[in-house]
């Protein structure tokens, strides 16, 4: 997979941008507030239909403009395809080769992207919701069906919480308990499958960059399970998990009914990050915490490329300024050796020079305009 051309119109502060990226590194340099993150967000949104930061879609449309459009020409399995997304009145429409896409699956077919932003670096210190979002982006990259499955769970959960608040009749609630348990078991098995693939790779990557003898562990912690020892989480199939969640929902009902929300299930999952058996959040240094995130991202890239047979597109937003020189050097060397197509932003070109090569496309970003530089 390769991005051949990116066109952005009225997306955040980018009024009209054409980029011809390099097959390897494309580096966008600019001062603060000029539109570097906006450029990456446009590309990320094109590839995932998830905004990188916006709460509301309308935030993506340039002030005073009617609609935002991002278009990418990709080379996918030898064929050129143009995918395009438009945001207008808070809603999006997607196009493949100029025609409205019949389904998201048609739209996504083969496009994979891994983004790395300074916000990601707080995922160790932050709350479980940040780690869940982090995990879910990886699950979605690996299993595109998860987009629908995750939404189905969220919807079932909202419906059930509404029933709890309304103190609906038991038979009505029971129907949603079961629907929720089914959708929840699917979320659990997806996250578990991803973490089974990822955690070993992440631990190995950490070993290369953590600069400590203590081993790092990345462990998925499904929330609210009380499985019997003879049937541990790792061995339970989806049916068993669904039955178990149903049972747990029942056990918590007296108290959940009182509070009007569901207190067990995948919506409260977490990923435990530990260094030498101790919580990285409480004990690891800032640099080590960043190494956790970096190792996770490297693992995700390796895992995706093993699963897809090709490297995903990598987007790095001003990460170098947040890393210490040694870890930054590791990352830059990793990027240049991986052969991946990568788009980086930075305020200081010298920080990322190690990822650059002869074929690097240097861009300058200023006041929402993006220009190609001589070198």
């Amino acid at each position: 997979m390769r991005l051949l051309r990116l066109t952005v119109k009225d997306f955040r502060n980018l009024s009209e941008v054409e980029v011809e990226p390099s097959v390897h590194a494309t580096i966008a340099v600019g001062q603060n507030g000029q539109g570097k993150t906006n450029l990456l967000e446009a590309l990320y949104y094109l590839c995932t239909l998830k905004p990188l930061r916006a709460g509301r879609l309308q935030e993506l449309v340039r002030f005073g403009a009617g609609q935002a459009t991002v278009t990418g020409r990709f080379l996918l399995r030898g064929a050129e395809r143009v995918i395009s997304v438009q945001v207008q009145d808070g809603a999006r429409s997607v196009f493949v080769d100029g025609k409205k896409a019949a389904s998201l699956e048609e739209y996504f077919g083969g496009v994979a992207v891994v983004a790395f932003t300074p916000d990601d670096l707080h995922v160790v210190k932050g709350g479980p919701d940040g780690r869940r979002a982090f995990l879910d982006r990886a699950v979605f990259n690996r299993f595109p069906a998860y987009l629908k499955e995750g939404r189905a769970y969220a919807r079932a959960l909202k419906n059930r919480n509404k029933l709890l608040k309304d103190q609906a009749e038991p038979a009505y609630l029971a129907a949603y308990d079961e629907a929720l348990a089914q959708a929840g078991a699917r979320v659990w098995t997806r996250r578990r499958a991803l973490m089974e693939e990822l955690s070993g790779r992440a631990a190995a990557a950490f070993e290369r960059i953590g600069r400590t003898a203590d081993p790092a562990t990345f462990r998925y912690v499904p929330h609210g399970l009380k499985l019997p020892p003879e049937c541990p989480f790792g061995a339970a199939d989806e049916g068993a998990l669904s039955a178990h969640l149903l049972q747990r929902l029942g056990a918590r009902l007296p108290r959940d009914g009182e509070r009007g929300y569901t207190s067990v299930g995948p919506h409260a999952d977490d990923v435990a990050l530990e260094l030498g058996g101790r919580s990285a959040r409480d004990y690891a240094s800032q640099g080590q915490q960043r190494a956790f995130v970096l190792a996770w991202k490297v693992a995700e890239i390796e895992n995706l490329s093993a699963a897809l047979g090709h490297l995903p597109l990598l987007l790095l937003d001003d990460v170098s300024s947040e890393l210490d020189p040694e870890r930054n050097a590791y990352l830059m060397a990793y990027l240049s050796h991986s052969g991946a197509q990568v788009v980086l932003t930075t305020t200081d070109g010298s920080l990322v020079r190690a990822a650059a090569g002869e074929d690097t496309a240097w861009l300058s970003v200023r006041g929402g305009a993006v220009r190609a530089e001589g070198s």
Binding site: S103, K148, N159, A171
Partner: protein, 197 residues
């Protein structure tokens, strides 16, 4: 600026699902430009639909007379009843010409978020209907999304104790549907529900 009757038409058209203000205006201009007979026929058709089409008091599909043709057709089996969300689903199943039983249209699905509970659907009528007809099997053919699934589960719990066989339509790749056009969630589910040959 435009004459009031035209504005009223545009406002009415814009209330239709999927029709925005601009499209409504285009449709209104189209009606104005068309031969007057067309507009008269259209408004006549709308009035007739409203005046003559009713919900069948038995299955809640659409009917012109007392009962709908599906309920009065003596060749259909009373033994099997297919429960669907809406009339469009009934028509889709009818097009397959595979199903010989009768129907029951719920007119929606259980959706707490949208304020649709059991009382807003034709569920009570379904129960009453079971009391006075020889139904042995009920096929629940609601959609495979969260609300459709919850509705099916609700019906399952309600109907099973009544001694009637309840089944749910299978999920996965539609027969004759192309694998390549199935979405990934459906494909994943179909793979999981595979059977040995």
């Amino acid at each position: 600026m435009t004459p009031a009757p035209l504005n009223r038409l545009v406002a009415q058209l814009a209330k239709l699902p999927g029709i925005g203000e601009k499209t409504a205006q285009r449709l209104a201009f189209h009606l104005l430009r068309s031969p007057p007979e067309y507009a008269l026929e259209l408004s006549g058709a709308i009035q007739e639909v409203v005046a003559q089409v009713r919900l069948c008091p038995r299955c809640f599909s659409l009917a012109e007379g007392a009962l709908c043709p599906l309920c009065t057709d003596a060749r259909r089996e009373d033994r099997v009843l297919c429960v669907v969300e809406g009339v469009a689903d009934l028509l889709a199943i009818e097009r397959t010409r595979e199903f010989k039983g009768r129907y029951h249209v719920l007119h929606g699905v259980l959706s707490p978020l949208e304020g649709v509970g059991p009382d807003q659907l034709r569920i009570r009528e379904l129960i009453t209907r079971l009391g006075d007809s020889p139904v042995e099997e009920i096929i629940v053919a609601t959609n495979p999304d969260v609300e459709g699934e919850a509705t099916a589960l609700y019906l399952m719990r309600l109907l099973k104790p009544m001694g009637v066989k309840v089944s749910r339509i299978a999920q996965g790749i539609p027969m004759g549907g192309d694998l390549e056009y199935a979405d990934q969630a459906t494909l994943a589910r179909a793979l999981q529900g595979r059977r040995e040959l």
